[in-house]
């Protein structure tokens, strides 16, 4: 078990190295003078020269890279120009908002996509199969920022079911005591029903928009792998032995069909983390995506770079976790390693 964990960890190292090199290169690619960018728009030549020395941009490229990696190891991502705060701190405080949104969206997507995929496979060729095909094709075709706006218009402006699409919590409510940073969990832990309900209402529309966008790969993979398993010999044997259809589908087929679905989670996370930026912009969600977009608008480059790096490291970690879960669920993978 431990060797498996270590070997998986080892496979993530090249990815992390690649990510760090690419993010480093992104700063070197900056059009014009990076020092001028980091110094801000109204900086004097003297200030720019000062920033250049401070950032170490007068050194050679390998030296700069070593300095960059050294900073990273200390958790230093530079300072934001507009707020003057360290980027690491700003990202860390905003991360729970993004994580809560992304995880709720993922749970929703899984809760819709897997039953839909299973049903579509069991009742292949019927209306529910067609429905599955339509939902998945429409789902990936909908620009997530457009769905979000549409929902905001229908459910906030027209029906007034949802609160204003501005942030995580109504401005009249104070956030729950900070425990995990997840408003839903924190308010539940402190028994604050009013805040829990308010946070849930704010979360619903952005999470649904993201879930719709990301359920297609899950549903398609579930359907495909269920179809493959349902056509296999052991399912035929189970059926022939007179087992109840429920037992065949859930105990025999579904357990085996769920394996490939786990592998597709990596792609789902790629979708979700990207969609996160757009949805946060639409719903003024105070997460790291909105932070990066605001930094982009003001040409504040350090936060953008920190954001790209954070997202990439998160993504590599998630993929590692998925790989690990796969190993836990599938005994064959364990035997191989």
């Amino acid at each position: 078990m431990l060797t498996m964990l270590l070997s998986r960890l080892a496979t993530a190292i090249p990815s992390i190295v690649g990510v760090v090199v690419v993010t480093f290169m992104l700063t070197r690619l900056l059009p014009g003078d990076p020092a001028a960018y980091f110094a801000g728009l109204a900086a004097s030549p003297q200030a720019i020269a000062e920033v250049r020395t401070k950032l170490g941009l007068d050194k050679s490229l390998p030296e700069q890279f070593v300095a960059y990696v050294g900073d990273l190891l200390q958790g230093n991502l530079g300072n934001s120009l507009s707020t003057g705060q360290p980027v690491t701190f700003e990202i860390a405080t905003r991360l729970p908002a993004s994580a809560e949104l992304t995880l709720v969206a993922l749970l929703l997507a899984v809760a819709i996509a897997i039953p839909l995929g299973v049903l579509a496979a069991v009742k292949q060729g019927t209306w529910i199969d067609h429905l599955c095909r339509i939902v998945t094709t429409v789902g990936v075709s909908l620009p997530v920022f457009f769905t979000g706006l549409l929902f905001a218009y229908v459910f906030y402006y027209l029906l007034q079911w949802a609160p204003a699409p501005t942030g995580r919590l109504d401005i009249f409510l104070s956030p729950p005591t900070h425990i995990t940073g997840f408003y839903l969990i924190d308010s539940a832990l402190t028994g604050n029903a009013e805040t829990f309900w308010a946070a849930l209402r704010q979360l619903a529309l952005p999470a649904i928009s993201m879930a719709i966008f990301s359920l297609a790969p899950l549903a398609r993979m579930t359907r495909g792998s269920m179809l493959a398993v349902l056509g296999s010999d052991f399912v035929r044997t189970a059926r022939a032995s007179g087992l109840a259809p429920r037992t065949v589908v859930f105990t025999y087929a579904f357990r085996n069909a769920v394996l490939p679905v786990i592998t597709v989670l990596g792609m789902v996370f790629s979708f979700l983390l990207g969609a996160n930026v757009l949805v946060e912009t639409v719903f003024a969600w105070p997460g790291i995506g909105l932070y990066a977009v605001n930094a982009l608008i003001t040409s504040d480059y350090a936060p953008v770079q920190g954001f790209v790096l954070t997202m990439a490291v998160l993504y590599v970690t998630l993929n590692l976790a998925i790989d690990f879960v796969y190993g836990l669920v599938d005994p064959r993978v364990r035997l191989d390693s």
């Binding site: 090249p14 990815s15 992390i16 690649g18 990510v19 090199v21 690419v22 993010t23 992104l26 700063t27 690619l29 900056l30 059009p31 095909r133 094709t137 429409v138 990936v140 075709s141 909908l142 620009p143 997530v144 920022f145 457009f146 706006l149 549409l150 905001a152 218009y153 906030y156 402006y157 204003a164 699409p165 398609r220 495909g224 996370f269 790629s270 983390l273 990207g274 969609a275 930026v277 757009l278 912009t281 639409v282 990066a292 977009v293 982009l296 608008i297 480059y301 953008v304 770079q305 954001f307 790209v308 997202m311 990439a312 993504y315 590599v316 993929n319």
Partner: protein
């Protein structure tokens, strides 16, 4: 060719949805080519007296905050949106197919370098990487094309690599080599044409994603700059008016965007059915 055409007709007649997608595709192509000539108003002409008017007979899709005709803007934007997506897909194809074919054919260090490159790109959430690239390269339309091509590159490289690897020792490749063709010639003249059908399917499948990606980037203010007519940026402009109930500014460009992506996704599935009946879903 004839059996392929017959097969195409069979698939199209059997699948109404694919036929519909081809129809939509023709419509978008038509709008992209003739859009600027057909637009009833100048897409950049503002008219303060007509600002924020809902759809009417004169302005089918209404007018925006500057009084510009939204129908004309949506129509004219087709060309820019499709050009960005198409250019990025073609660029991704050239980069990905060539390096992928070389990786699959030669193996060894070529394979390792291409594989490592693809893996590194795939280690990022793709939209986030595209954001970083456009932010670094500068706020230009061409950089959206480059960024979108880079994030699509691994898909092409992997498919091309797998297909070339299978054909590396095939009889026709052996024959081409024995009749004195150089490696480059074998690769480009014999292997590449054989994997073109698969690559075409890949292109139409990624086209929808390329449109979404480009529109997403311009939605957050990267690449295309106002007052240019582009669907993503028009939705972004309309977003400011959603809360006050002016739905038409964001709705129509958003619908156009959605339809275009939908059309290319269906088209991709349809093409795959025609070219590779085994993968039919």
């Amino acid at each position: 060719m004839l059996p392929l055409l017959r097969h195409a007709r069979y698939v199209l007649s059997g699948n109404l949805v694919t036929g519909l997608a081809f129809g939509l595709f023709a419509l978008f192509l038509f709008a992209a080519i003739l859009g600027p000539a057909l637009a009833p108003y100048n897409p950049l002409q503002s008219n303060a007296a007509m600002a924020l008017k809902p759809p009417s007979a004169a302005h089918w899709f209404g007018t925006d905050q500057l009084g510009r005709d939204i129908f004309s803007r949506v129509l004219v934007a087709t060309r820019l949106d499709l050009t960005i997506a198409f250019a990025s897909v073609v660029l991704a194809f050239f980069l990905g197919a060539l390096s992928g074919v070389a990786a699959g054919y030669f193996g060894g260090w070529t394979d390792r370098v291409v594989g490592r490159l693809a893996d590194t790109i795939m280690a990022f959430p793709l939209f986030v990487l595209a954001m970083g690239i456009v932010a670094a390269l500068g706020n230009e339309v061409i950089n959206i094309v480059i960024a979108t091509a880079i994030i699509n590159f691994p898909l092409y490289a992997r498919v091309a690599r797998a297909e070339a690897n299978v054909r590396r020792d095939a009889g026709f490749v052996e024959a081409a080599r024995l009749s004195g063709n150089g490696e480059g010639r074998v690769l480009l003249g014999h292997i590449l044409p054989n994997i073109m059908p698969i690559m075409m399917v890949q292109m139409s499948l990624t086209m929808g994603y390329a449109i979404l990606n480009a529109a997403g980037l311009s939605f957050i203010g990267l690449g295309v700059r106002p007052p240019a007519a582009e669907w993503g940026i028009m939705v972004a402009e309309g977003a400011n008016f959603i809360q006050s109930g002016e739905w038409w500014i964001a709705l129509f460009p958003g619908l156009a965007l959605m339809l275009a992506v939908f059309c290319f996704n269906l088209l991709g599935d349809g093409l795959r059915d025609i070219i590779d009946p085994r993968m039919r879903t």
